[in-house]
Symmetry: C2
Subunit: 457 residues, 2 copies
């Protein structure tokens, strides 16, 4: 009797997850129940496979949902993050292990004691970021500590970008994942991190002007701006004593400086609605954020207000997205500035059917060993195949699928609501990811951390 895995949520982003599980179905003796509210998009080979069954399931239908959860030996929830909890409660009730690629929510965390006491494993944050970042970082941190090293610095960066040959616009950027997350990135409070033992705070309106550069061999230079939450894994990673902790988002050089124009104008604001936005031209939208003038053009007003020189490439970027166009009209009614900006950008930044995305991850580990300071950098680049088979779907889906099999095969001993920071999880998953071309390059660099004795205060 094959072991039944229930996958709830089978959207576009789960292509690699499903494929991996199907390829391993016979060998691993598993049966896949793939449930989605609208399962029409699931490819034919799944429908015809004897070890696979496609179900139409509305997650709000408690009876049917509970029936399916109760039949499974493990559940993988690829639902939107807010919908995991219902499924998690069913899993707890029926004593079934759970895998998600989402951040642990408050509600999920609150289940930990019960999950533990029943000997269950609820593995979360096992996708790309969060996921591969945890695993690849902890593998190096544990190795450094095992050799007697003391962690001084940890910086970690991830970017969802476009592959070099698909990198065809002035922004060096296209949407490859949820565009809304990109438009509102960094909002909700100051970014907080530690540099050389001192807290540092960057308000949202300065976030995109405080970037640092990163070099990836064969792929050139990237920049990164700070995430809001650099300190959230401090304890989980065992970095309580590290003097520098920083997490960031990677873009191609120049993106942030141009994005900052939107921030400065107020176009990324998601807190109020613009009356009668429908039918407004892109140009009229832009003019909402500029002083009134009876004579000056929107172009000149923006150039002057944002101090954009005549020969600044930022100007070309703004023209490229048709920010001053009189004919292109906004289609959303009473939308927020952020929603409208998203609409404007989606008109320009969509990946073509054969274009490929690219994931880049970069870690810096600074440590002290035998009285000397060292730095190890490590990075990973993953390329998509096309618009459907993205590097994003691959790097999010494969770790979740692999973790599901590990748990099913009793290789994960520690029960509880958890993230993949223990060796028993990250070692086998990273090894398996390597077979799929997802691997990290490590190289020693001079220690670039800072000398706390000479802080100029």
């Amino acid at each position: 009797m094959p072991r039944r895995i229930l996958i709830v949520g089978a959207g576009k982003s789960t292509s690699y997850l499903l494929q991996y599980l199907l390829e391993h179905a016979e060998q691993e003796n598993i049966f896949l129940a793939i449930a989605d509210k609208n399962p029409d998009g699931i490819p034919q080979n799944f429908r015809e496979h004897p070890l696979c069954k496609i179900l139409t399931l509305d997650i709000a239908d408690a009876e049917k949902r509970r029936g399916e959860v109760g039949k499974a030996e493990l559940v993988i929830s690829m639902l939107p993050p807010t919908l995991h909890l219902e499924v998690a409660r069913d899993c707890l009730e029926f004593g079934i292990n759970l895998v998600t690629a989402s951040y642990i929510s408050e509600g999920m965390r609150a289940m930990d004691r019960e999950v533990r006491s029943r000997g269950l494993i609820f593995m979360n944050e096992i996708g790309l970021d969060p996921g591969i970042d945890h695993m690849s970082a902890m593998q190096v941190i544990d190795r450094i500590k095992a050799r007697g090293g003391k962690m001084l610095l940890f910086e970690s960066f991830t970017g969802g970008l476009v592959a070099p040959e698909s990198d065809t616009n002035l922004w060096n950027y296209k949407f490859t994942w949820n565009p809304r997350n990109v438009v509102v990135a960094g909002q909700g409070g100051a970014a907080k991190f530690i540099q050389e033992g001192t807290y540092k705070y960057i308000p949202y309106h300065k976030l995109f002007r405080r970037t640092e550069f990163l070099e990836v061999e064969g792929y050139g230079t990237f920049e990164a701006y700070a995430n809001r939450d650099s300190l959230s894994y401090r304890e989980a990673y065992g970095l309580q004593d590290a003097l520098t902790l920083y997490r960031g988002t990677m873009r191609r050089v120049g993106f942030s400086r141009a994005w900052n124009i939107f921030v400065q104008l107020g176009m990324t604001d998601d807190s109020y609605r613009i009356e009668n936005s429908k039918g407004m031209s892109f140009r009229e939208f832009t003019n909402l954020f500029l002083p009134y003038s009876p004579t000056d053009s929107v172009e000149l007003k923006l150039r002057h207000y944002m101090k954009i020189d005549q020969d600044d490439i930022i100007w070309g970027k703004l023209l490229e997205i048709n920010l001053f166009d009189k004919k292109r009209l906004i289609t959303q009614e009473n939308a927020t500035p952020a929603q409208i900006l998203q609409e404007i950008l989606e008109a320009s930044w969509t990946l073509g059917p054969e274009e490929r995305d690219m994931i880049v991850m970069y870690h810096k580990f600074g440590y002290e060993l035998n009285g000397k300071k060292f730095q190890l950098d490590s990075n990973m680049v993953a390329l998509g195949e096309n618009r459907r088979l993205t590097a994003m779907a691959k790097t999010v889906g494969l770790p979740a699928a692999m973790a599901a099999l590990l748990i099913l095969n009793k290789k994960v001993k520690e029960p509880g609501v958890q993230i993949p920071i223990r060796r028993e999880v990250y070692e086998p998953v990273l090894a398996e990811l390597g077979k799929y071309g997802i691997c990290f390059n490590e190289f020693e660099v001079p220690y670039l951390g800072y000398n706390p004795e000479s802080i100029a205060m």
Copy 2:
């Protein structure tokens, strides 16, 4: 039998209000019951006056509060805005008129129907701003309309500043009212207004760079930044068809440009707390918002980050408030950046005992009459006597006291929860304010509004 007025809340800011009522007590046949949680600060002449009684009253003590309200013919609440509602409910129950100088809250507004049906008057927003601004604006608007004019433009500005001879620091500013309101001014969403029929939005981080200048004869030039709520009185003022509506806050020229440094650094943020702020030096606080450097000074980092030239007066302003001081320490524990900035500024910006504050108000009225466009400007300057008898206390307290007598004398006919925008209120109050030196200068200027036909789009 004298008519009893209950005044709840008798803090420092009520000196003029109490004095005015006491001076009119005999002639108006009124008796003053002055209630405060801690009435020790009320001057001796009130205690000895036969038409006055001082009460110790904790507003949370419902029984005592209701007892006092029930005995009065009218209540003036000068409590903090959040505490008016309890008193208002008592007034409604016992059928007693109410006066406050605060913005109408949701809860207050919700009482309107009942207040009306009982024929009561709950007069709110009858202080300075809101208060004198409503009355002085409506007097002109009603006059223009009565002559057949059509309102095109209304702009209104108020500032609580220091009198010229007390204007002794580089910021041309000292705290004369609630410092916290100054530090967090403009936060909570984009400023919204209308210019020539088009909505305009200014995000918080640009607010202090979008000022306009105002000239007041004998007092020089001022600047103003936009309030968040320029459109809130559109209907109340009958300005639905006006093409330009703008409300702002006045400062001396150069204040906003320097204040913008705090905004850009993130020092006005009130949304998160800084761990262990107590004992941190002003310099360390400043450094929280600057990039780390092992060699560069806090001064150089700030100059570079904020692009402050060597000879920019902003620099002197920052030095004057000791922003880089190593010895001055923050006393608040786990405080927000805004709370810490307030502490730093309060150390420098306090009014001396004999120094005087200054209130400035400026209105612009644009209108069309017989096919021609006109503009009328009007302004008012009020000076305080010393730190206790401030122009702020005078301009907030006198209108409330005058309105109380009007209501008591049945001169206000219209019942309901209201603000002073009707002639029956503003005419007598403005006339009476004139006797106390609070009067507006009006002058015709060329129409400076904008020509909508030539918007360069």
